[in-house]
Every structure is written in structure tokens, then in C-alpha cells.
């Protein structure tokens, strides 16, 4: 389907790849539908990130287009999920790989899930997978940024702002090149580069770091671990972004790091919410839009109606867009467990269909996850605890059985378990019995349902819908050409100045000098007193 759409693109003219290709633009209905009633109509450039990161960006792009802005989304000619939409234009750029390369990367998750691998072998597989993904990201970025014809085409469009996902700083680099304000949408950068760039304090005493699985209430040992992780974060950032730092030098022709480029950001739309996240300091230009995808709901397709209307309700089972297939031994654990429960199971599954599938299971290549979770018959949600899925489960108040696999998923899962709204299992060591027990808990122990409904009520009780809020702040930046008045004056400070270490050193020196002088004076006095006594 996607390939067909790409073939239908209204191309300008395609030059040789090596010399740089001009952008291919797809004119959708968006332009025609631009409402003349809109008070302000801006031009927005959107540089999204692929995979699940696309969901939130697409929602904002669609809504802005619908409100009469001219929205242009830059996407590679082949991708995992990105594609055209009703209310925005897409502008594709060439990449030196094909769909098969993407499929190969997607299927690598299956190898990671193999249960009978020795530890070292599994680490090797994981490492190779990360290397391949990182390489894929860099190659995609380079083929866009170093395509001079394409970039100068963008420069001519006179955009008002760039909406992007800063995890991959391609959009931020383009914004700097074109002198445009930046709106970031993100869940969080693992090495806290987002917080550092926004100048946001993150005291390690109550702000747990990524991947630590810690909460905001830490004992001494946990605080030591968290502080150590906080101390090595800058190093981790360098590792993550060294190649992008090189690309930045090459692309911008200036000695600037990704951190500095991101520190120019005007607005940070954070896909977090404190019903899930631990409360932490924020900066004035950080806007919380966790749960942005909750209200994007459509009616269920007809073929699913019989599956959701059973008296025992149903279970939704998806492991996100990245994992649609899994090793046979894990599949059979799930199948065996599902055979023994009265609920129907709607399972997103793209692998080989095994024999003897129980009657209560419906396998589908794609499921309308949010619409299913919104159905009152949904009893449980088996999920990898990706941030989008977690928010959808929370939004509709469905207890979760979580099998986190990578990235922020273990952290998300730990937080949900901590709030008593779900159970966490290790997918590689899970047995039919432990799965059954977990399902039994989240379905039949009413506390899970009560807890998630209470949390859901808190989450949804907000003055402005997160999508509306995202659109508002994007429009704000377009209207005012930035949001400078919300940026803290931390970017000219070195870290020594930021923490006032120079001031502390001066004050300590003064105190020390005072103490030394006092001691010397006292000694002198005592000596004189001693001499006087001797003379007496």
C-alpha cells in the first residue's frame, strides 16, 4: 500500500542520487481545504521520527493542517510507518536503502526474544541490533541533510517554525540552518539531553534516571546508583550523539554540538503525565501533553463486533509496531494460557500462524488498539508498555499485563506496577502458569480495575486536551516567531557557573582565610600572654 502511494507521488524531477535529489512533493487535499476563517495561517515544517514516535507528531500535523495552516512533513521515500495524511503535504527524500532493509531491522526483535540463548549470545544479538538501528538512523539523517538541492528547496519555502522529535536531531539541525524556531515533541531522551538543553534541574535525590527502574523515593544505596548514573549521563550523551555532532559540523559549517542546537528550542512538548511519571522540576517552556493519542478514537470495524461482545469480555494483545512476530516457544506459552481463559483475545500477530489455535483467539495483522481499549468489554491489555500503549490503557482504564522488552518500556512498566494498575512479567522466562496467574490477577482482582479507573480519572481531568495544547503552543511559536520569553538564561553559563561552584570556591576561600587569620591571631595572643607570664 505504502509503495503504491509513493509511486503516485507528484514528483518535481529526480536527479541522480549522488548529486542530490530534489524533493518529491505530494499535494494532498490539505491545501484546498485550508480554511479561510482561520485567524492566523502559518507554514510549518515537520521533521518526524519513524516508528511509534510518528503517532504524536502525525496527530499534531493533521490537526494543524485541518485548522488552515500549511503543513509540510519531510519523510524518507521508504519508512516503517510514516506516510501521507489528509491535512498535510508530504515531501519525500531519497534514501540509500529499500523496504527490505527496514523489514530486516524490524524482524530483528524476534532474535532478541529467543528464550534459550546463552547470556553472552543474547547480548551480542542486542548489540548488533542497536548498531543496525543507529546506523539506519544516521544514514537516513545524512541522506536528508547532505542533500543540498533538497535543503535549499526547504529554505525557499519560508516556514514559520519546525516541529520535530529531538531524539533524532535532524529537524533541529534544519531549523538552525534555516534560522527557524523549534517545537519539540518527545517522551524523553535517555541520557537526559533534553533536560540539559532546556536548562532544567534534575536533582538525583528524587528524579530517577532512565533505565534504573528506581522510583522517586530512594534509600541511600539507590541514591548512590542514581547519582552515579546522573554523573555518567554526559558521557552517555556523547556516545549517543557523537556521530550527529559530526553531521552537525558538516551540515552547519560551525563548531556546534547537538546539545547547543537543542538548547535553542522554543517549546518542549513532553509526552509525560504525572499520573505515570514521578513529579519532577520543569521549565516554563515545557508543556505536558502525555496521552495525546487518547481521544483519536474511531468506531470499531464490523468484523470485530462478535469478538468484543462476549459476556466475559476480551483481552487486547499487542507488542507495538516494532514487534509483530515472536519465537515459537513464546507464542505457545501465550496460546496455552489463552486456551484456559473464558475471555476472547484479539492479538496483533504477523508471524507464522500455528496449528490448533483456540477458538477464543483472533489473530490480526493490525488491530485498532485505541478503539478496542475504549470498548467497555476490554478486560485486560497485554502490552510491551511502550509509552503510547501505556497512555491508551490508562486513558480507557484497562488493567495491564506488561511484558517490557526495550527502551523506556521497563521503566514504564515499573511505574504502572508501582501504582497497582498492572502486573509485569519477563517475556523470556514467563510460563503458561505465571501468565495465567498474571491474567487472573488483573482481570479478577477488582483492585487493579479500581486503581486504573481512579488514575484514569486523574489523567483525563485537565484544563486543556493534550492535542489541543500541542496545537496551541505550535501555533504560538509560529505567531510570535518563537517563545524567547520562556527560555531560561542558562545557556551562556558553563556548568561551573550553573552550579555556582566558582562562587562557592570564593566563599569557602574567604571562610578559610578568616579561620586561618583567627587561629593565627589567637596563637599570637597566647604566645604574647605566655611571654608576659614568663616575664612576670
Amino acid at each position: 500500500m505504502r509503495t503504491l502511494v509513493v509511486l503516485l507521488l507528484l514528483s518535481f524531477s529526480v536527479e541522480a542520487r549522488a548529486a542530490g535529489s530534489k524533493p518529491k512533493a505530494e499535494k494532498t487535499k490539505a491545501s484546498a481545504e485550508h480554511s479561510s476563517s482561520a485567524a492566523f495561517s502559518g507554514k510549518l515544517l515537520v521533521v518526524p521520527m519513524d516508528g511509534s514516535h510518528w503517532v504524536g507528531i502525525k496527530a499534531i500535523a493533521q490537526e494543524l493542517g485541518r485548522r488552515g495552516h500549511k503543513v509540510t512533513v519531510v519523510i524518507p521515500e521508504v519508512s516503517m510507518r510514516m506516510g501521507p495524511g489528509k491535512h498535510y503535504d508530504t515531501l519525500t527524500h531519497t534514501v540509500p536503502y529499500g523496504q527490505d532493509h527496514i523489514d530486516a531491522i524490524m524482524s530483528m526483535h524476534k532474535d532478541v526474544l529467543k528464550t534459550n540463548q546463552p547470556f553472552m549470545e543474547r547480548m551480542q544479538v542486542k548489540y548488533n541490533q542497536i548498531l543496525k538501528i543507529v546506523d539506519f538512523i544516521h544514514v537516513t539523517a545524512e541522506s536528508l541533510l547532505l542533500n543540498e538541492t533538497y535543503i535549499s528547496y526547504l529554505a525557499q519555502q519560508e516556514f514559520d517554525a519546525v516541529l520535530t522529535d529531538p531524539m533524532v536531531p535532524t529537524g533541529a539541525l534544519i531549523a538552525r540552518k534555516l534560522g527557524l524556531p523549534i517545537i519539540n515533541l518527545l517522551r524523553g531522551i535517555p541520557c537526559s539531553l533534553d533536560m540539559k538543553s532546556a536548562g532544567c534541574p534534575s536533582p538525583p535525590s528524587f528524579v530517577p534516571r532512565f533505565f534504573t527502574g528506581l522510583s522517586d523515593k530512594m534509600n541511600f544505596k539507590e541514591r548512590v546508583i542514581n547519582t552515579l548514573v546522573a554523573l555518567i549521563e554526559p558521557l552517555f550523551c556523547r556516545l549517543l550523539y557523537w556521530r550527529f555532532n559530526n553531521i552537525a559540523h558538516q551540515f552547519l559549517n560551525e563548531e556546534v554540538s547537538v546539545a547547543e542546537v537543542l538548547s535553542d528550542s522554543d517549546i518542549w512538548l513532553l509526552r509525560i503525565d504525572f499520573t505515570l511519571e514521578f513529579p519532577r522540576p520543569l521549565m516554563p517552556n515545557m508543556i505536558l501533553v502525555g496521552g495525546i493519542n487518547c481521544d483519536l478514537r474511531k468506531p470499531l470495524p464490523k468484523n470485530l463486533e462478535q469478538w468484543v461482545s462476549g459476556k466475559h469480555g476480551f483481552i487486547v494483545f499487542t507488542l507495538g509496531s516494532a514487534i509483530a512476530d515472536m519465537p515459537e516457544e513464546i507464542t505457545s506459552v501465550f496460546l496455552e494460557a489463552f486456551r484456559q481463559i473464558p475471555q476472547t483475545v484479539i492479538w496483533r500477530y504477523t508471524g507464522m500462524v500455528p496449528d490448533n489455535i483456540p477458538k477464543n483467539i483472533k489473530l490480526m495483522k493490525w488491530v485498532p488498539q485505541n478503539d478496542l481499549l475504549a470498548h467497555p468489554g476490554a478486560r485486560a491489555f497485554i502490552t510491551h508498555a511502550g509509552s503510547h500503549g501505556t497512555f491508551e490503557g490508562l486513558c480507557h482504564g484497562v488493567p495491564m499485563l506488561m511484558v517490557p522488552i526495550a527502551g523506556d518500556q521497563p521503566d514504564n512498566a515499573a511505574r504502572m506496577e508501582n501504582r497497582g494498575v498492572g502486573v509485569v512479567l519477563d517475556i523470556t522466562t514467563m510460563t503458561t502458569e505465571s501468565l495465567l496467574q498474571g491474567l487472573n490477577e488483573v482481570i479478577n482482582d477488582t483492585r487493579y480495575k479500581e486503581n486504573i479507573q481512579r488514575l484514569s480519572a486523574l489523567h483525563k481531568d485537565r484544563p486543556v486536551d493534550p492535542l489541543e495544547l500541542s496545537v496551541f503552543w505550535t501555533e504560538f511559536v509560529m505567531r510570535h516567531k518563537g517563545a524567547k520569553h520562556l527560555k531560561a538564561a542558562v545557556h551562556d553559563l558553563s556548568w561551573i557557573q550553573y552550579y555556582c561552584l566558582d562562587v562557592i570556591a570564593l566563599l569557602a576561600a574567604i571562610v578559610l582565610l578568616f579561620v586561618i587569620l583567627t587561629v593565627k591571631c589567637m596563637k599570637l595572643c597566647l604566645q604574647k600572654l605566655g611571654r608576659k607570664r614568663k616575664q612576670d
Copy 2:
């Protein structure tokens, strides 16, 4: 008028003051008007602070009452500004002073403004004034808190939450006694007790402290000053609140400080906005509602129409509710300057009316300040730069001539001047010439008007109106019996733990040990090597 209203109160029964009096309740139309259509109807206790602090609290109380909540406002039987309203009930409590005592305190400002006083004498006058105000605040608080009959009446009312101004922690103490969640409305506590209680980081490298007049961009010397002020802030807090700490012990029967009581607060509604304030870190339970009074606009009274319709426009001149009178020598400076300008001047003035008042001046005992500023003919606003007035000037885009007198006024004025929207003068040293020059600048130099209109546009471009937002979060706390999920886990941490000083000490010790061991090892190796060479 106010006395009449008090006399009309529906009193329960009044016992001897010494023994504690029962509350007098005024039943207004509020109860009758409670809308049955409201989805949720709560019971809110409001414990306001007098003076200009009353404005914002009153607006929220009115709006909540209008939406169908039962709002009860606790006020002393005599006060500066507080009184009944259409949509809330008032519950008065006795105080051991009369209106004459309040009038005496109000008129003390005049003494502070005397221009020909020696420095030491002026300081003495200021000190006496502060002592009297502080005593007034404590006596008022004690007469409410130690009135057992009154407090037990409040306890029986089953309120859902307390809305209060934490600068005077009476409301917070009552909330703790009755086990109720707290919503605070404030501009900021000078010793940063608000930030400390909310666990909000305030790095002295870019967060200027109260009274320093510093901006967010500081050189080394300024950072030293700011850090020193930050270091003595806890001491200043102790000085400010030691008597309230004693009242807290006595009232609550527990060893708890005001800081601890305030750290239980659920929501902090901060009357700040980053068009005026320097961007700084915030906590998730801090909601910005600066400019809450901007939209509370009424049409101008008829008798003012001829004064605002002149072709040269008009000047609004008020020095806030506390200062309505001033020494003759200052009055004559203003009169002489106004005589020489073409604009009309609408001046809030309650003192002796001098002879020979120029024809372009209208003196009034009270002026509809916000409504006048909203009029397109307003050319300049002469103000003491109190926070409410500053926001009103900003809201309506009127350039300001500022004569700050006390409290946060010098800081507010410095920030406005820093943004090029006004001129600051010292009221005690000002001459007719300097005043004329200042007025000429703000009225005729178009940059001032342009700057404040740009700033005004930024200030008013927000997703939710600040009054609406205040009401939302107050209702949120009433609905959910608090907002625990927004409170950072900092309150069980000592300051050593908060700053991870224990962790740093441990890590430093390990590093030191490692260095010592390495050095020792190397020494040993060198010694052995030396011996071996000797043997060779």
C-alpha cells in the same frame, strides 16, 4: 457602607470575646443561586489575606460561587478591603482592634514618603511601620486560630478544600487542623519559603532573589550577591515566621513548622507570568495565573467620560490601596508637572485637596483602575508597580511611569524597565523636571508603547484564561480531595539528602581512597625498584 453590612449580619450568637466568639455568618444570594446544573458541587473554605492580596482570592471565590459551589470566606469583623460578595458567604470573626487601628496603619505610608528626613530617622520610621504591620497580622491570625468555638464550627462544615494566601499561613494551619487539602494563591514569599515548601529548585546562578534587583543574567559579582542572599534566606524565613511557628505549635498541638505545614500544599497558583518574571524552574503543582484580574472589566462610570475623551488622552495615577495620601512636597511635584502637560490626569487621592489644582486633574477617592487602563485613551500609568497594577498595565498595553515604594515593587519596576515598557523614578528624590522628562518619554517615545503592546500580546496569548485556570485547579482539588500525584517526593529528604551531599561525600571518599592507594602502591614500587638497583 461596610459597617452597615456588618451590622446586618445574620449572627449566630455572640459570646464574650475572651471566651471565644462563635462565627457571624452572612448569608448572601450565593446559596440561593447555586446552580443545579453544575456537574460537581463542592464546599470551599477561603482564608484570604487583606490588602491587595484580597483581589485575586475574591475573584476566584466569586467565580466558584457563581458555578454552584458553596464558598465560605473567613474575614475579620474589620479589615482594609475584605467584605461580602454576590456569590460567596462570609463568616466574620472578632478581632481586638477597631477600624481606627487599621486607618492608623494605612496612614503610616505617608511618613515613610517624607522627603526631608535624615536616613536613620527614615529607617526608624520604616522599622516601626513593619513592626506594626507584623503585629497586626499576628493579632488577626491569633484571634481567629485561638477562637475554639469558631474553629470547631468550621470543622463541622465538612469543607472539601481550603483556598488561601500562604504569605500569612492562617489558612494552611486551619487546613492541617481540619485535614483538608490546600490551594495557595500568591505572588511569592520574599524568603522563598514557597519554593522551599514545594521542593522547587531555584539555582542562584539564574534565579534572582527578591529585593536584589538582579536579572537572570548575572556577572560574577552579582552571582556572589545572589548566592549570599540565597544562603541567608532560611534565616530570613525564620525571622519572618518565628511567631507563626509558635502559633502553629499552640494551635496544632504538634511540633511542626510553617514550612512543613505549607509543604503539604496541593496546588500553588502563582500570580506570575514570564512576560514579566525571569524564566525559572517550576514544579508540577505550580500553576501560573499572573494577570488573573485583567478580564474583570466593567464599563466606565458616566462622570468619567469627559475626562477620558480628550484628544491628548489621559494618565491614570494610583499608588495602590495602601497609599492614597502623600506628603505635601511630593504632591506639589506631581501637581507642577501635570500643569505642564496636555493630557488629563485621573488621580486616586484621599488626602487634603491643595489649592490651585490645574484644570486637567481629576482627584478621586477611588478609581476604576482596570477599566480606565482598558480605555483606548490611556497614554500612561503612574503606578507604585504593585503586582496587580503592573499586570493591569501590561494586560491593556499602557506604558508605565513607576515610583516603587516597598515590598516586591522595586523588583517589579526593575523588570518592567528592563523590558523597555516603562521608566522608574524614586518618589522621594524626584523633581518636577525628572517627572516631566519621564512622562514625556513614556508618552511620546513610541518604543515604550510598541514594547508593551508586544509584551501584552504575548501575555494574553495563552490556552486558558488565568481565572478559569485557577477555578479549574481549585475544583480539581475539591473533586479529587487533593493533588497528591503532583507533589514531588522531597519532603522526607533532609537538605543533605536533597543535595545528595552524603552521596557526594561517599564518592569523594572512594576516589580519595583510590588515589591514596595508587600513590602508596607507586611509592612502594619505586622503593623496591630503587633497592633492586642499589643491590645491582
